[in-house]
Assembly symmetry: C2
Homo-oligomer: 207 residues x 2
Amino acid sequence: MTSSPVPVRSRKRPEERREEILSRAADIALEQGLERITLRAVADRLGVRPGLITHYFPAAEDLVIEAFARAAIIERERFFPADGAPVARLAHFIGYIGSGASASLARLWLNARHLSRFSEPLCAAVEEQDGLDRERLSALIADGIASGDFADVDVETACIRIFIAVDGAGSYVNSAADVEHPAHKHFLADVAEWALGLEPGRLGSAL
Amino acid sequence: MTSSPVPVRSRKRPEERREEILSRAADIALEQGLERITLRAVADRLGVRPGLITHYFPAAEDLVIEAFARAAIIERERFFPADGAPVARLAHFIGYIGSGASASLARLWLNARHLSRFSEPLCAAVEEQDGLDRERLSALIADGIASGDFADVDVETACIRIFIAVDGAGSYVNSAADVEHPAHKHFLADVAEWALGLEPGRLGSAL
DNA sequence: TGGACTATTGGTCACACATTCAATAGCATC
DNA sequence: GATGCTATTGAATGTGTGACCAATAGTCCA
């Protein structure tokens, strides 16, 4: 009585199929973690046989690495607005990180940073994506300095400080404990104000 | 011609054996990561059969959790000196974290924080150890405030800020990239000075 | 329309893992 | 010195993983 499990075989253009695979793998990376990207898991989501994934990614590790990069690239656009005044862009960035909306992104980075321990190529991919984030923030900082919104600080120094604060705050993303303390919630804004020579509280409204 | 693989069976008191197992598991956690704590790996290090590990830890996950706790407890003593002036103790703490000596500890925490995603009991253990660290640092801060070395800041707030900085700096422990930039190396000391109302540079000599 | 190319399948294999359990042997106690 | 308890072994089981490969069937082109 059940519908026959007819194996509907749909043949797609290699580039398209590859995109599909990467896209699903990136979804898994964000939802469940990089170590849950298995041939079977990706194949199931696509309604396809595991062997097909191997066909496109002979080494499963490469799929994981590319999926991480894709997830990082896609998520990046959510917190780096393209335009607006420097302070507003910075406030959006900080507000986004501080809100729960970036939890899956924080988990992804925690995940990847840890897994870098076991995989040299993944480590390289992490550093590459990290570099892209830094480029974005550095550009934002440079804009703010040029416009006079930020003090005339060293861009790289400010960028490094802010990202350490981002990663520090993100460390607790998997903890059930209280990240409700004001010192927690305001840390990133506090550090950003310090790093950019803003008067304390200037970014506080972003929360 | 090879020496016969005589299975030398040495029978030990349960408490002693259990300690041995935990100790080796903690070693593996620090050296190779929590996910490398397998029945076989621990058994091999002890010259014992995997079944014996199961005998003491019917659920392997419990061994991992206890091994993490043990590693965290042992390592804690290395960076929280028992006595000395508050500033000196703080400088030791910061110097230890900043030096490469704490790399395996940073890896352990990154590891555990990530794995907390998949295991509720591990998450609880992480929070427990985290709480113990915070107790230590809070006591140190309270001492410094009482002695007048630190400003009259809120202990919990200062503690939270410093630990976010610790975890943020530790995030890059598996990266091959440059953590050599001064902003990187001084971040923890900078934050500590800010959080404790110390004049900038006061802790810098610790590096 | 027929043939070539290859995306896709279905099945298999080897490996690492935790778990289970009956059999064995060390140690303490009588 | 015999006996009982249990720490320890040896082996088997089941699951999940990546990798491999011959067979199949879409799709495109001559």
